[in-house]
Structures are given as C-alpha cells and as structure tokens.
C-alpha cells in the first residue's frame, strides 16, 4: 500500500510518500502563487526520489491551508488532525503539539491514538508565527539560522512591548539605534513570540510531553524561550519537524 500526504502550507509545500506506513521519500517546495502546480511538482519530485510511478500511489491525502487546491487528492483533512496523527507516529509520548507554520500557530492536545483532544489556532495575528521570525531577522540584518542561535548568547533580558509585527519591527529598529546588543534583541523577540504561543497552549491545557513541529521548531532560540515560558525542561522535536503534517496526512488513509 503506497500513500502520499501533501501539506500545502502558506509558504512551503511538503510531500511524504509512505509504503506500508514506512517513509520512503519526502520533498519540500516553495508554495509560490500557483498552489495546484506546486502540489503536482512536489508530488512528482517525491515519487521520482522513491523511483515510483504515479500509478503506484493508492491513496493521496491533502492537508494545509491550501488543501482545496489539490484537486487530485482522494481525501482532505485539517492541519490539526494531520499534525496529531503525524506526531504520534514520530514521537508516541507527545500529548501536546505546538505547530508553528509561516502564518499560523496551532496548539493541539492529542490522545495516544493520534486523535485530536483539544485544539486552538491563532487565525489572525502573525506575531506568533514563522514569518514574524523572518521579518525580525531581516530587521536585525542577520541570517534566520544565526538569528535563532544568537538568542542563546544573550546576557540581558529586555522586554518587547509591541504586540504587532509592524510595530515590533520599528521597536527593533529603535533598540538597534539605542546600541542594544543584537543577542539581547534576538532573545527579546523570541520571548515575545513564545509568550504568544504559550497563551494559546494554555487555552488547550498543557500536558506533557510537549512537542514542537513546523519550521520554527529548528530555531534553538525559540525553543529556549518556550522552555523558560512554560517552565519545563524537555521539549520533543522530530528530526524533520516541517514534514509532520504531510506525514500525518499520508497516514490518514481511507
């Protein structure tokens, strides 16, 4: 049985191919403007990697914000259901999942069988999402990867007051002009993002163990802020956190 999961996100599209519930191939592409074309391209690239033909795929499940654009999918499921399913496959001990995508943050509490118990999505504000991190890194003129690591070297705690991405950017510029160390600004930004995510996690209730998925899970500065904010020592992160949703979709066969 070969199944494919396509997670058409706001920024990137992820595909995971499973053969008898084992991952055989995965592929990530920038979503761009034409979502349908990207879905097609990502799927064919993933199939090529696994040396499989399109006909060999028995079932295709789409998820993500652009899931409606995947016309060839046999089934569509929500991001929340896909995330829960995917994380339990990768990390069976996880009960609370924090998924930080490019434009949305989600907090999901799940059962041991991969079903969703409670969930909350921040549908509006970008301040707790991946694009915010990128915008702030740009304002500080550092690479996104370096931006995350920088936060860990901070020696001073300063507070960021702005709630909104646009105002936060001007606050960062003011801090730069006040000769504040970039490391400290980086930490303040990560703390601000984490506090927004934490308030959402508390809505659904914190239950250990906690896992973080989505591209932002690779940012050590954010993970450190999250640990301090939630007052926990351990946060689980899968090896390739951005593929969790696509994996969960692929696991959701008819």
């Amino acid at each position: 049985m070969i199944s494919a999961g396509i997670d058409l996100g706001a920024k990137t599209t992820k595909v995971v191919i499973l053969a008898d519930n084992k991952i055989v191939s995965q592929c990530l592409e920038l979503t761009g403007i034409d979502q349908a074309q990207t879905a097609e391209k990502a799927l064919s690239n993933a199939l090529e990697k696994a040396n499989l033909s399109r006909d060999a795929v028995n079932f295709i499940v789409a998820t993500g914000v652009g899931r409606n654009a995947v016309s060839f999918a046999n089934k569509e499921i929500s991001d929340v259901a896909a995330d829960a399913r995917g994380i339990i496959y990768l990390l069976p001990d996880a009960r609370t999942v924090i998924d930080i995508g490019a434009e949305e943050g989600r907090a999901i509490k799940c059962f041991a069988d991969g079903r969703v118990q409670d969930f909350a999505i921040n549908e509006k504000c970008a301040a707790g999402a991946g694009t915010f991190v990128e915008t702030m890194a740009r304002a500080l003129e550092v690479d996104v990867e370096e931006f995350g690591k920088m936060s860990l070297r901070s020696t001073n705690t300063i507070a960021m007051n702005a709630q909104c991405t646009v105002f936060a950017e001007s606050e960062v510029v003011s801090l730069v002009h006040a000769k504040t160390a970039k490391e400290d600004i980086s930490k303040a930004i990560h703390d601000a993002i984490a506090s927004r995510i934490i308030s959402m996690v508390r809505r659904v209730g914190v239950e250990e163990k906690i896992a973080v998925i989505g591209g932002v899970a690779k940012n050590p500065g954010f993970i450190d802020s999250l640990k301090r904010g939630l007052e926990i020592n351990e946060i689980l992160i899968p090896d390739e956190p951005e593929f969790t949703g696509a994996l969960g979709a692929a696991l959701t066969k008819a």
Partner: protein, 91 residues
Amino acid sequence: MRAHYGYKDGSGEYFIVLDTDQCNACKECIIACPAGVFEIIVDDYDEEVAAVVEEHRNKLKYSCAPCKPTSGYNELPCVKACIPVAISHSW
C-alpha cells in the same frame, strides 16, 4: 474534542470554544446567531459538528459585537440556544 476558533491580538483573546463531544449538530446555533457565525461541518473523524465559519474566525470580536453591548449583556443567543451546552466564549 474542544475546538477553539478565533484569535488573540493586541486588544485581547477572542475565541469561541465548541465542545464537539457535546454538540449534536441540531443547528439551533445557526438559527440563533444573527451574524451567521456557525455552520455544520463533517469533521476529520466523519462526525457532524458545529464549527465557526472560516470568514468569521479572524474577526470574531466584530462579528459578535452586536450581541455584546458595552453596557453589559445577560445571555448570548448562541449560548442560550445550545441545548447540550457546547458553546462558550472566551471574552
């Protein structure tokens, strides 16, 4: 499952919480809500449940404002109409 639909922004937290285990998809909330905030969907586990319409999820503060006058309110029409007590508001 408790589904939290809404958002948090600089002015506060605006979430409608729907307890899908309690919801029996009776559609009373759809009839009661003057803003058309609710709909019945088939969720990921093939169950019919109430949900917040996507276009309202990022403007609930405004969609629900007519039922929440600043001078105070007693009961919200959606909460009152929901017999199995599946609907609650965070603000």
